[in-house]
Symmetry: C2
Subunit: 383 residues, 2 copies
């Protein structure tokens, strides 16, 4: 609870200025306050959805009066409607937008929850027991928080049975079904439709960049892994592009500034293609996603001729960074173990395998919106 010291109208009644007890201050526009007014005619009680359109707000909306009430709320009277509404001081604090830092962030910044990592994460890779997580308590809360924070986590003590991977998705969200199925087999096949279904090593990558929207979560569970090799490798691509920007900012700009193309046509009835940058930034420079996959990139047709040589230099540089030992975390999944990655952020790959024994993984896609929703609701209890 942060209480308000004082409030006053701005000049020409275009908004208000609030000063909190911690001496922070923030201004709010009349139109913004009116649009977010927490009264039953603006926001539906129960579901909180807005009942008015933006054009239902008078174009000449203004502040008629503003004051701090005895209960600490901020009372605002809007003209010309002559409508009075009370705002929570905490809510105003949490949603203030009069923050100079909004205009000064460097391209590639991330939400505060994101912790970038390198190989130092290896001994501390987040891990939880499926038996504990399914209780829907603090263990699941911490596991989801770690997925949100690091973009990767392991789960152990899973049933060693085909399809159990979907039970992990059920803990927080919904399977994203694709042409590969609700879940898919990752093991050596004759005539594989995807190089994942061979014993070849796979350079670290994000999955399915040729899909749009890309699946934002990938899970890989282990049913058998008695081969020599076949270790899993994960790399924080948000860290990798930060390193790229430090070493060569103009290369970061190239990979963010032009769209790559990705295609998959490995089976007769599938032709997937997308056009998105390797480094995707929001309009405010926030790092939203990385797409990196040597198997499915190209043909690159959307980069101007005079940028192509430099673009390839940048791509090569990033490809070298993601293979540096100091960025890689390696582990070997055992039967009954699984790892999950944020597929917009964390690359995964594997060491080649061969010889006797067998390796049988299953994969599955899901999406982060449901994961973060579950995390937010568990946070109310355990945060």
């Amino acid at each position: 609870m942060l209480s308000v010291d004082s409030v006053q109208s701005l000049k020409r009644d275009e908004g208000i200025e609030v000063v909190w007890e911690n001496e922070s201050r923030a201004r709010f526009h009349a139109v913004w306050l009116r649009d977010h007014a927490p009264d039953k005619d603006t926001l539906a009680p129960g579901n909180g959805q807005r009942l008015i359109r933006v054009q239902d707000i008078p174009a000449d909306v203004r502040i008629e009066a503003v004051s701090r009430k005895d209960d600490g709320k901020i009372s605002v009277t809007f003209g010309p409607e002559n409508k009075t509404v009370a705002f929570d001081a905490d809510w105003l604090w949490a949603n203030r937008y009069d923050r100079p830092e909004l205009a000064s962030r460097a391209p590639g910044w991330t939400r505060k929850e994101v912790v970038r990592w390198g190989s130092e994460l290896e001994p501390e890779l987040p891990v939880e027991s499926f038996e504990k997580a399914r209780e829907q308590g603090v263990e699941l809360y911490r596991w989801l928080r770690d997925v949100d924070r690091y973009g990767v986590a392991k789960m152990v003590d899973m049933p060693v049975e085909s399809g159990a991977i979907c039970q992990v998705v059920d803990l927080f969200g919904f399977v994203r079904e694709t042409n590969y199925g609700r879940y898919f087999e990752v093991r050596t096949e004759v005539n594989p439709v995807n190089l994942a279904y061979t014993g070849l090593g796979l350079q670290v990558h994000t999955d399915n960049p040729y899909r749009d929207p890309v699946p934002t979560l990938q899970l890989l569970s282990c049913l058998d892994n008695s081969v020599e090799g076949g270790d899993s490798v994960v790399v924080d691509a948000f860290k990798a592009v930060e390193v790229l920007r430090e070493e060569a900012p103009q290369k970061f700009d190239l990979l963010a500034g032009y769209p790559a193309c990705y295609t998959y046509a490995g089976a007769a009835d599938v032709y997937l293609a997308s056009k998105r940058p390797m480094i995707e930034l929001g309009p405010d420079g926030e790092l939203k996603a990385v797409r990196f996959n040597n198997r499915s990139i190209g043909p690159l047709t959307e980069i101007p001729f005079d940028k192509m040589a430099a673009y390839y230099d940048a791509y090569r540089h990033l490809a070298e960074i993601v293979e540096r030992a100091e960025l890689q975390v390696t582990f070997k999944l055992k039967p009954g173990e699984l790892f999950i990655v944020d597929n917009t952020r964390v690359l995964h790959g594997r060491v080649a395998y061969e010889g006797s024994g067998s390796r049988w993984l299953q994969g599955c896609y899901a999406d982060t919106d449901s994961l973060r929703s579950k995390l937010a609701t568990l946070h109310q209890e355990w945060g």
Copy 2:
């Protein structure tokens, strides 16, 4: 088939220049050609995936020799590997990137398949019979092509039974399950978790902008619609933002230049939030998506204070445009009818309804990547 007139090396052997019989010419870099070389050691036979990493290409890759072969293919020898590969002339033509127009497109341009529309589409709204479409022939091809082109289409002759909507998704892709279920009921409810489940009119909108990734397709099917009112309205938001850009380019830039925020917390165990711009452009200015939804926008916390008033003016202007009669297509769904929209492009809404009778729709989400994949495979037969 477009055959090649001549080929030659560029200076310093950094690439080649191809001249086709239509006198068009295009240059290709050595590194680009090497990365896309269609030989069995570069691209896996069968699934077409790339077997090499970009750093497996020598940094000093160059053209040792280039010539037109008797079969019309272009033979390229790469140094220092001394590797010779033959490229199809057609493939080079289709994938040439030496195109000056890449650098000169105005913000908000779209793929060539996209046809923007206004109310003139109403009498010509694409429609197909479910019975015909399920034959997986030319009718399905044309219907999917129309969805890709206009972002909206109707389907008729559906079974009037609960859940039949999923059979339409099965024609081309996969249901995107969400907290609303695999499909969901759209009818008047007591204590609705969403204003869609009331008799209120709904301003045209894209669905679930608070989800990330947003569902890229939405379907709505009709089981009963005997009320007064309840007509469906669709608007091409790609057209609407084009109008906005013509009338006020700086407003287009504001809505594309700053992220909006969207939230949904209508049920106890759901808290969805996203941060994406109303007008989403790729780094090359391509119009990728529009998010517009008065019910779930805000709190807007990511727009700097000194831009907020202008941002609201721009939002208000766009909200007025999408309600102009010349942009709206209206129809009333009958039982056994459905419409599909590209939820990144086409807004949908409804006129309020009340009185006797009832209105029962079902909704379902899916994704465009599978739809376009299906379209591409049907195109080979019917295009």
